[in-house]
Homo-oligomer: 383 residues x 2
Amino acid sequence: MRNVFVIGVGMTKFGKFPEMRIDDLARSAVMDALKDSGLAPKKIQVAYFGHTRQGTCAGQRVLADLGMTGVEILNVDNACASGSSALRYATLAVSYGMAEVALAVGMEKLSTTIKGVIPPREDDLEGAMGRVMPSVFAMIAQQHMHRYGTTARQLALVSVKNHANGTLNPRAQYQKGVTVDEVLNSRMICDPLTLLQCTPIGDGAAAVILASEDVMKRLSGSVPIRVAASVLLSGEARIEADWDITVSKVTTHAANMAYNQAGMEPKDIDVCELHDCFTAAELVHTENMGFCARGEGGRFVEEGHSSITGRVAVNPSGGLLAKGHPLGATGVAQACEIVWQLRGQAGKRQVTDARVGMAHTMGGAVSGAETGACAIHILAREA
Amino acid sequence: MRNVFVIGVGMTKFGKFPEMRIDDLARSAVMDALKDSGLAPKKIQVAYFGHTRQGTCAGQRVLADLGMTGVEILNVDNACASGSSALRYATLAVSYGMAEVALAVGMEKLSTTIKGVIPPREDDLEGAMGRVMPSVFAMIAQQHMHRYGTTARQLALVSVKNHANGTLNPRAQYQKGVTVDEVLNSRMICDPLTLLQCTPIGDGAAAVILASEDVMKRLSGSVPIRVAASVLLSGEARIEADWDITVSKVTTHAANMAYNQAGMEPKDIDVCELHDCFTAAELVHTENMGFCARGEGGRFVEEGHSSITGRVAVNPSGGLLAKGHPLGATGVAQACEIVWQLRGQAGKRQVTDARVGMAHTMGGAVSGAETGACAIHILAREA
């Protein structure tokens, strides 16, 4: 397996753009990534497009519009982990020598099709009875409060932190700070999760270009950002009787695999974009990923350890809560943020001397399993 | 790159099963493939699921139902080439040493959601104006008749042949023979294509298990079927002014790449499952894939060269026209048919001493390009 480097990133602003075609958003992200890389479009040998509801052959539409025809293109769908799945397969393509240059794109337009909660499938009986995402994460929050004495205020602080980070990110869907009281007094969605503790519906796209070391070295001025780990797993079995829902077994497992691949430990991570679809999700995933001990997630955010100036900057982009969460776009957008942080290009939200970053997504509700997919990547600055 | 072998295949009957869940169809195909391979489910290290409208994380649902959790799963969508894209990525996973055993599944249920023509996307302006699949292939047929004197009877003979083959395939959606007159007198869909010249709407699933040579050799009684070539490309640019629509540039290109990979020529192919979504498609693809010269497609079928006893048996399974075409399932089902033919397990439709088989799918309508995706595989019996 060869070393793989990120040589270009691009991302649209996230938000609600009902008047725009998703293809135009995706094309814009791809063009930005190409410009960032300095490569001509014809250098792209294989492309992976992550999205969940942008129609069949969406990737082919986007690249054909750019005059990129006759290349290998795969559309991948792993729910909210679609973009990170695309990133993984672009990484593998370069790593295994299938291509010198590979493109990963995440794209999603939800604003004209979804209002509020993403509806369950017709044949999803658990979903029909109310096991939709807000209730899943509300149960996780309740259980964490019960087991560890986590407070509503600690949960709210995740939202306060991520919205504060969003004010520093010109590409974030929400760029307005919120207070603990505003979070707690916003509309109740599913106790204890209020509206400002839930990720919004939105549109957007992001693109990452990966290349071999040879190609990377020929590009002048490129800061070498290496993909140090890439993991994709489906969720572990969910056995109701003894299942501690505050633990994401698959996140723990995937994170450990990623640390092993990278030869790193949680303390080596300077910046982490993780899947904060709800405040409770970020809280438990800081535990699952080893940044703090089990049960400590509430105190971890409260004591500022996950702030931009903390031990590990968690979701400096604003995360899913404030940057937004156009499903398929998220995993690739996370990688863009990590790259900007490692290059020192993150503007007002820059994490000081960030050298190692991690990205984590979870995707999909699957009966009998804790989740559909979990993807983790570690990126490292090499110079 | 390592040699990759097919060690298990499974497929449901194709047809309309409105009362069945797609997950149950897919699970049945996976279980058949596992049984055929002799492997335990836990041996599957990575799985690729091709489908176009079975919901996000459909693959995870199917494997979780079988107790297969915590594995790498990717759902892929390349329209009608989704199944063959899954097959390609399972092949690559073993070839590059990412896994010893990989699973490819194609699955689709259309009977409860689609009636007649697959509707174009809301923002597909060409589709809204009538550029849907039957009209595309009707134009191809008209152009072929104009350029080469191809007759309506020759087009109808493709349907007659494939329906005759379908009568020999217990898994085919249609198992009733048709005459030239019945084909020509069936309802006109888009001149010159009548109803019996169009692939039907249907449901079904298929699964293929691929493995390294080491694993294959440990399985007693396994006939070694090697993946000799695997190609996936997006369509070439469509430039209206000088575009000869009877030529699929991407099929020609992908077929040549596949022949090069395999070190073979068209004359080496004993059996070919190709994308006969309409009679005109099979007719031109026998030319595009090099089985006969440009313009000779009509005579090729008329003279029996593509019959089960001909030079190259084209669509002995009944093809998309008679076996059926549950979009994402097709590419994997084609591979099942090729494997049965190469193993000598194809029953009444057995091609005598078939040693090399080819499978070809086309997927998706993309504005500005001839198609979304084209995938070609060559399988070869090694003993």
